[in-house]
Amino acid sequence: MSTTAASANGHDGSLVLSARDIHKRFGDVEVLKGIDIDVAKGEVVALIGASGSGKTTFLRCVNMLEEYQAGTIRVGGEPIGYHEEGGRRLRLPEATVVRQRADIGMVFQSFNLFPHLTARANIMLGLTKVRGKSKAEAGAIADRWLERVGLSDRKDHYPYQLSGGQQQRVAIARAVSMDPRLVLFDEVTSALDPELVGEVLTVMQDLAKSGMTMLVVSHEMLFVSSIATRVVFMDGGRIAEQGPPSEILKNPKSERLRSFLGRFHGVLR
């Protein structure tokens, strides 16, 4: 489907992500009960909420790492994973899904660098095998990103030779070097020792400032309040409240959000 058709359907062309009524079940348990969300170009949207509220699951649906049973996710106007044909909902061919994923970057909680590749080779893999760039070109891009995340001197190290924070910075470089429309961050600091969190957040801050469109699941409330353009509070598989961080984090309307934020008391201001 072209962008024009998407606009005709009421989707703004400048929207990078647009999800409508997303439902997701694991067996009998419905974990997403109708998610609607729009993310415009350059927005940094933070998903917050208790564990089990469906934040990570939603993120994984955007990248088709999870199947979802109803609703439509569009990235750049193009429906992700499924299409309608004669009133029936069909999964897109694997090749299409694979191509779509290349345009959506993802950074994981557990870094997931490839253990058999150096930091530089981790970044180059997608550039050469997916984007079809030459080794020299991919190497130059990798070097540029490694410098930007402050790891030029670690480029030939294998993941096991890097600290958690360094691995996560490489993982971020691997995701953004593909020049994606949207980058998904799934609790990227949760597995880190407290003293390593800062270096990763600094990199993310830098990316946000440069205008990258980001969807971030995080428990770092201070960080969320400083970089997010919008905060979305999820509760029980639904979006309970959303708005600018100043409003959501400081004047929560619902009791649920108030009690959730209460746990971070003192961290905020």
């Binding site: 994981f108 058999h116 096991y160």
Partner: protein, 225 residues
């Protein structure tokens, strides 16, 4: 010095039988190489089927692997050897035997490959998907190298077992090293010496494979988590 090469001495008997012993050794090496080649090529495919194929194919492969691994190799050899004759396929004992042991190697390799692939954390596959790699891209560039690292130690064991297994070919009349030695024994009556020498040769080959495997393992030691 000369007495070593007089009739009745072991070295003399070895010298007399040198032709058949050497060709026996060649047969042993050739059969082991063919078996390992069959096992690797078909076994890797089989392992992929066990891990990723649609259910019916997976079940068929599972049944094959379990039946073959649960049966003595010697029974497989006799089955193929006599079986091909009865359905009118004319194959040499060498081919029948190599196919039988090769089929055994396929089952073991497939199981090893499946185990290695399934032991890689799901997150690795997610990460490979996230950068836009398709199935084969993920397999070749992300999961494969990690699987090789994990499959190598058990697979080296399998390779050693296959070399040892080639001795069973002698029981269907393939003149491998063992049968060559047996022929020499029947002329010289030097069972101790010939079977003992045979053992030395097999031990050297098998230890060599293990050493080679350990070398490759060390080269792959950088793949860590």
């Amino acid at each position: 010095m000369m007495t070593l090469f007089q009739p009745g001495h072991f070295f003399y008997e070895v010298w007399i039988a040198r032709g058949v012993l050497l060709s026996g050794l060649a047969i042993t090496v050739a059969s082991a190489a063919s078996i390992i080649a069959i096992g690797l090529s078909v076994g890797i495919l089989g392992g992929l089927c066990l891990t990723y194929a649609a259910r019916p194919i997976r079940w068929v492969m599972r049944a094959y692997v379990d039946v073959v691994r649960g049966t003595p190799v010697l029974v497989l050899i006799f089955f193929v050897f006599y079986g091909t004759a009865i359905i009118g396929i004319d194959v040499s004992p060498f081919v029948a035997g190599v196919l039988a042991i090769g089929g055994f190697c396929v089952a073991h390799t497939a199981e090893t490959v499946r185990g290695a692939l399934e032991s890689i954390p799901q997150a690795q596959s997610d990460a490979a998907k996230a950068i836009g790699l398709g199935f084969w891209g993920r397999l070749v560039h992300a999961l494969g190298p990690q699987a090789v690292r994990r499959a190598l130690p058990p697979w080296i064991n399998t390779a050693v077992e296959m070399v040892k297994g080639t001795t069973l070919l002698s029981l269907i009349g393939v003149v491998d090293l063992l049968l060559a030695a047996q022929q020499a024994v029947s002329r010289s009556f030097m069972a101790m010496e010939f079977y003992g020498a045979c053992l030395v040769v097999y031990v050297v080959i098998c230890l060599g494979i293990s050493q080679l495997g350990a070398l490759v393992e060390r080269r792959l030691a950088y793949i860590r988590y």
